[in-house]
């Protein structure tokens, strides 16, 4: 369960968002510049809310009233960025193990094999990151976030920089991830179609505020009826 109730001023722009995500995948929908990434950065701890409260399960990550702000490296929240952000000086395999090593998680071969199989990245392990295609980079970034055994996975438009063929290539992996990995996810997108296929609940964000929140099908039917059959 993810509780978010935050207020943050960024120059002239204000993000004021409240929701409680309960499903396996909570979708964040909105056009670019709506404040989705700022919100996700707050959940990750990269951005500190001016006021508010963030909790995953029973653990409070931010509570400005009691002065709690857990830094990102102690949150154990996997974050998959739109631009993958693989470490260019490390091989694919070293990238995958980075989070595990930093968290002092013992090497679990079975878990690693599961993740590598799930994302189909076994043949990439020895490559340099500069030799990967856009879709491969995103799959490695997903694997890297999963191998740290996160309690929550943030996916900020992971398909945003890919063309439609590549999107179609990755989407099935994300669906498998949702069904098999057992990690709750927050999935950010401006594509109603992706959200319809992945998310149970959708939060619609408009200019920093929650415009709608609820069950994915009904919310998306209201916002973008052409995408719901």
């Amino acid at each position: 369960m993810l509780h978010v109730d935050v207020f943050k001023k960024l120059g002239d722009f204000t993000v004021e968002v409240q929701f409680t995500g309960e499903g396996r995948v909570t979708g964040l929908f909105g056009s670019s510049g709506a404040g989705k990434t700022s919100l996700v950065n707050m959940i990750a701890g990269l951005l500190k809310p001016d006021r508010g409260f963030i909790a995953v399960g029973n653990e409070v990550l931010d509570d400005t009233l009691s002065g709690i702000h857990i830094p990102p490296h102690r949150r154990r929240i996997g974050y998959v960025f739109q631009d993958a952000r693989l470490f260019p000086h490390l091989s694919v395999s070293q990238n995958l193990h980075y989070g595990r090593r930093m968290n002092g998680v013992a090497h679990d071969h079975a878990h690693q094999d599961r993740v590598v199989d799930l994302l189909d990245i076994g043949q990439l392990l020895m490559r340099r990151t500069g030799q990967l295609s856009g879709g491969e980079r995103q799959r490695v970034a997903l694997g890297r976030a999963l191998l740290m055994q996160p309690r929550l996975l943030l996916l900020d438009e992971p398909l945003g920089s890919l063309d439609s063929a590549r999107k179609a290539e990755i989407l099935p992996y994300l669906i498998r991830l949702r069904d098999e990995a057992g990690v709750p996810m927050v999935y950010v997108s401006h594509d109603p179609n992706e959200l319809r296929r992945l998310a149970a609940q959708v939060v619609v964000i408009k200019r920093g505020y929650v415009a709608a929140f609820g069950d994915a099908d009904s919310v998306l039917a209201e916002i973008a009826p052409q995408f719901v059959d």
Partner: protein, 231 residues
């Protein structure tokens, strides 16, 4: 012509020792300062910046004289170090290393600072979400990505340290076997009759050392670009 005498070898080896020690000791400080200047805005930053670059623009004799006043036996710092740690700089090769380290510091810091500035902060953010504490982010992401710049800075600093003359001779004089580096030896040789051949030999040696340093530094700079692109 290439028959280098034992006395000349002493000067060459001393220069290498002084340059190496100066560079190795200065590098950790250089990285710390470069990181501070690249990543933080603080009150008095331009002053710190100016002080670091001061040895580059100040007459070397002035730097040497200031070192003598500060780190000499009767100097405030030098006296304390001699009494408490037994560390003497005046008229010792350690003093030459100190002078060379300070004179080459701006050249050491600059490439490191530039390469730290070039490291993508978004990669550091990614590392922190993956569980790396700030110091681990620095050691596993920032520093490795800036490493070619660090090495380039070290090579440049080393080349500068090896060629340092004014501050060194002012601070620790020109004692063969103790503080007489290549530059000081060449200077001495030009002051005596029949010194030309020996001076030219040492000139040759210093040209070779400088060329190697420049080529190596360029090579590291090229590696930096490759590293950033993950190829």
């Amino acid at each position: 012509m290439f028959d280098i005498s034992p006395a000349e070898w002493t000067a060459v080896l001393l220069s290498l020792k002084v340059g190496l020690v100066a560079t190795l000791v200065a590098t950790p400080f250089g990285i710390a300062i470069a990181w501070l200047l690249a990543r933080y805005h603080f009150w008095g930053k331009s002053l710190v910046d100016a002080v670091i670059y001061l040895p580059l623009v100040l007459p070397p004799v002035v730097t040497g004289y200031l070192l003598l006043l500060t780190f000499g036996r009767k100097g405030l710092v030098g006296g304390w170090l001699a009494d408490h740690l037994g560390l003497v700089f005046a008229f010792r090769w350690t003093g030459a290393a100190l002078a060379c380290g300070i004179m080459s510091f701006p050249l050491l810091v600059r490439p490191i600072r530039l390469s730290i500035e070039a490291v993508d902060r978004r990669l550091e953010q990614a590392a922190s979400t993956l569980g790396a504490a700030p110091w681990k982010v620095f050691l596993t992401v920032t520093l490795p990505l800036a490493l070619p710049g660090v090495l380039a800075g070290m090579v440049l600093g080393f080349a500068k340290a090896i060629g340092e003359f004014g501050a060194t001779i002012t601070f620790v004089s020109n004692i063969p076997g103790e503080t007489q580096t290549i530059s000081a030896a060449i200077y001495t040789l030009t002051q005596v009759p029949d010194g030309d051949a020996a001076a030219l030999r040492l000139v040759g040696v210093s040209i070779v050392i400088s060329m190697i340093a420049l080529v190596t530094s360029e090579w590291f700079a090229r590696r930096a670009t490759q590293r950033m692109h993950g190829t």
